[in-house]
């Protein structure tokens, strides 16, 4: 929610690279984005390259602490936690990708129609947005995922259908503003149809919102995927998903196997942060109000 409205957040992330002399702010921002993308790409690549054999059961290697051979240790079935974590993260990224793509499309369609299709439509859509915003995300998510019988399908649909609301509001406001802009009015007066102006004059201005919204939905989708899986309404418990790994780890904490929760939790944190950084810096770059800060 706040990540979209809080357009005034400062660009503190780019300060990370202040130590490199000779870079201007824009270049630092670019570097920031590039390195975050690199992290994500590395995770996805690693998950494809790592052998599935490593997450098969190896009873002779179970409950090992972190070592050079197993960076994140092994679990009670002797599965390599590093491999499980990386595969879990990439599964999360994949789910996040689909879920946020769907919710961004929903937001775009609803936002556009609310702003262009007249008062009644606007009222209905605003009402639906308020309705969904009034309900805690997680509750709606659990309801949807549970009704659909859990699994990846339930999670994706659940996340997609609960995260579009705030972006819809932003897009609706933007369209309302654009509609009264001079170039749109002129286009209308010159006889172009509603739809023509919408597609040729309004839509292009929404691209930044759309894109930033998409990236910033990502961490939400991932965290929510992890949390409902953690609560047991999401993916099947043997899947290498972060939520699953964390909830399993809970059972073993009292036996002192801290590495089961620590490293996967930390990795999730890093991935989510990486997306957050990409989103914020992208906004700095392409948002017309901030691009020249």
């Amino acid at each position: 929610m706040s990540e979209i409205s809080a357009v005034t957040r400062d660009s503190r992330n780019s300060k990370f690279f202040k130590f490199i002399p000779g870079l201007n702010r824009r270049q630092r921002t670019l570097l920031m984005i590039a390195s975050s993308v690199l992290v994500l790409a590395a995770v996805i690549m690693a998950s494809l390259l790592l052998d599935n054999e490593k997450i098969a059961t190896h009873f002779d290697e179970k409950n090992l602490g972190p070592s050079l051979e197993h960076f994140f240790g092994t679990d009670w079935l002797g599965r390599d936690m590093f491999t499980r974590t990386v595969k879990g993260l990439s599964l999360s990224i994949y789910i996040g990708l689909i879920a946020s793509a769907v919710s961004v499309v929903i937001a775009l369609v609803l936002g556009m129609s609310a702003a262009t299709m007249g008062k009644t439509v606007d009222r209905v859509i605003t009402w639906i947005v308020d309705l969904f915003l009034g309900m805690p995300h997680l509750v709606a998510l659990i309801l949807i995922a549970f009704t659909l019988g859990g699994g990846a399908k339930g999670v994706i649909i659940g996340v997609a259908f609960t995260h579009w609301t705030s972006l819809t509001r932003v897009i609706r406001a933007e369209v309302l503003q654009l509609r009264s802009a001079e170039f749109v009015q002129i286009s209308r007066h010159m006889g172009k149809s509603r739809w023509w102006t919408a597609f040729h004059h309004i839509l292009p201005h929404l691209v930044p919102q759309f894109f930033v919204g998409f990236v910033l939905l990502f961490p939400h989708a991932i965290l929510h995927e992890a949390s409902i899986t953690f609560l047991g309404f999401g993916l099947s418990p043997h899947k290498p998903a972060i939520g699953v790994i964390l909830s399993e780890a809970m059972k073993y904490l009292s036996t002192g196997m801290w590495w089961l929760a620590f490293f996967p939790g930390l990795s999730l944190l890093i991935i989510v942060r990486a997306f957050d950084i990409i989103g914020e810096n992208l906004r700095l770059l392409i948002d017309p109000h901030h691009a020249h800060d």
Partner: protein
């Protein structure tokens, strides 16, 4: 919002780490240790809160002892049947009439005497109730006099005696709709208080006719596995049921007690080819598991002892049948497993070969691939499912493991392999699982197994007049030298392990000689509660 999540996760990781370190340095001296051996109260966290309450007429006490009620007969620690409420019983020559003489000194905990009327009332109520208890066999039950009861059966049934062992007698005068919430009986303990989901408090029944228990008051706490273990570490409970993964942990002042059980875990294979549907419309049968070569190869290839060591941390034993080590078990079901060559031979003789070189066998157009479903909350079953799937991959059988809720499993169990758990001190369970009469009934024969020869043996065993006569037929049903439902025969199941039931028990507490426990943690432990005492 995102910020909050980030902060939460960081905080959690920190807490976890701190917990770990504080766990290490926890060397607080054991409290209450001195007072222990004088206390006549116990606090136990052994789980197994009965959802349906404590009414024996709807199934309470089937697994373990009814605690509040007493039964007509019972099994001693060697599984022999001995009298409880009965002084003696006789069975007519045709096996149809059972006459039981009752003790005259038995009183319910409210002081009223227990008479034949109460027994008749209990069995009539049980027969009427729609519950897990199957009393179809009972034609009538009548009180001949105040302390003699006659049971008349429709046809002879050797397992009827187990109904006399399992059914706690409820008082006719104090039985109402809320009985299951406030039970009253003639057992060693009387009900005090039940806070659902939290605790059950019981006190010794002063009217109890048997050996008076040493402990006057017992509190059963209903805690999760982790919480029970934590409570044991903190010295707050005297007995805690734990899962194998905690078994390696030393807890000061407590000893680990592993009780042998027939609480088994195994894979049910749908036995017939697909095509039909149940009357609720769920598909029956599975193309791959209906092939005997697949079922037998899995049976021969799984490495049961490595499952015991790996998943149960050694606290268990390999399982070859549903009733290992029970009197009706046929030891011929034990096979030499982890036999790669044997399994491969079975598969190739069955016509399975990897013709496209993808690592999975085929037979014509059919791939050796099927789903194995486990209840998603059960970590032992999950681990077993994963381990078996990983194992059989190397002989070319692809098992897709899936975790589901019990609701979903009820729809899928006719057409998918299921990781089930059974184990009973009553051979009727074997009948329910393998008899064609129970195809698709409840959770029983959901694989639709049927073998006329097996049915014949099972029916003979059931209609034998005594349990001793029945034994030979129970054994033959498993394997008679040429057929049976055992591992050598049709192998409609792949039994994997018998769990040991693990309890952390205060060092000085003696919990007597335990029987081989049936399925279900918890209540079986208290079966012999009268024997429990402190050691000096």
């Amino acid at each position: 919002m995102l910020k909050r999540f980030t902060v939460t996760i960081t905080a959690l990781s920190l807490i976890f780490t701190m917990l770990f370190f504080s766990g290490c340095s926890n060397s607080e001296p054991e409290k209450n240790m001195k007072a222990d051996t004088e206390r006549d109260e116990l606090i136990m966290a052994i789980g197994s809160e009965p959802d349906g309450g404590f009414d024996p007429t709807t199934g309470w006490g089937r697994y373990g002892s009814p605690l509040f009620q007493s039964t007509i007969l019972k099994r001693d620690s060697d599984m022999k049947i001995v009298n409880d409420l009965a002084t003696d019983y006789t069975v007519s020559n045709d096996g149809l009439e059972w006459t039981v003489n009752l003790r005259r000194d038995v009183r319910f905990s409210d002081g009223k005497p227990l008479t034949a009327e109460d027994v008749v009332f209990t069995y009539e109520t049980t027969a009427k109730s729609a519950s897990v208890v199957d009393l179809n066999i009972l034609k009538s039950v009548t009180a001949l006099d105040e302390y003699t009861v006659k049971f008349t059966l429709k046809n002879p049934q050797s397992t009827f005696i187990n109904i006399l062992v399992n059914t706690g007698i409820v008082p006719k005068h104090a039985y109402g709709s809320d009985y299951s919430q406030k039970p009253l009986g003639s057992g060693p303990f009387k009900f005090v208080q039940w806070d659902k989901g939290q605790q059950l408090i019981v006190e010794a029944n002063p009217q109890y006719y048997g050996k008076k228990p040493f402990f006057k008051k017992i509190t059963f706490l209903y805690l999760s596995e982790e919480a029970a273990f934590a409570a044991a570490q903190a010295g707050e409970v005297d007995v805690a049921a734990i899962v194998p993964s905690y078994a390696g942990q030393k807890v000061t002042g407590m000893k680990l007690q592993a009780v042998e059980s027939v609480d088994n875990r195994g894979i049910l294979f749908p036995y017939i080819k697909p095509g039909e549907k149940t009357k609720d419309g769920y598909p029956i049968g599975n193309e791959v598991t209906s092939d005997i070569a697949i079922r037998k190869a899995i049976n021969f290839y799984v490495d049961r002892s490595s499952l015991v060591d790996g998943i149960l941390n050694g606290y268990g034993s390999p399982a070859y049948s549903v009733c290992d080590k029970m009197p009706w078990w046929n030891p011929d079901t034990v096979i030499k497993d982890a036999d790669e060559a044997g399994a491969k031979q079975i598969l190739s003789e069955g016509g399975w070969k990897d013709s496209d070189g993808d690592g999975t066998l085929e037979k014509g157009a059919l791939k050796a691939e099927f789903n194995l479903i486990y209840p998603s909350g059960d970590q032992i079953r999950q681990s077993l499912a994963i381990a078996v799937a990983d194992r059989v991959k190397s002989i070319g059988i692809k098992i897709n493991v899936e975790g589901k809720s019990w609701d979903d499993m009820e729809k899928l169990m006719y057409s998918n392999a299921i990781m089930f758990g059974w184990g009973s001190q009553d051979p009727i369970e074997m009948y329910n699982l393998y008899s064609s009469k129970y195809r698709g009934v409840d959770y029983y024969n959901s694989g639709f197994y049927m073998n006329p020869k097996v049915d014949e043996y099972l029916n003979k065993a059931m209609s034998s007049i005594s349990e001793a006569d029945a034994l030979q037929y129970w054994k033959k049903a498993q394997w008679d030298g040429s057929t049976g439902f055992g591992t050598n025969g049709d192998a409609p199941w792949a039994w994997l392990v018998n769990l040991d039931h693990l309890y952390l028990v205060k060092e000085k507490l003696n919990i007597g000689k335990q029987k081989i426990h049936p399925h279900g943690h918890g209540w079986p432990l208290t079966d012999n509660i009268e024997e429990w005492h402190w050691e000096n």
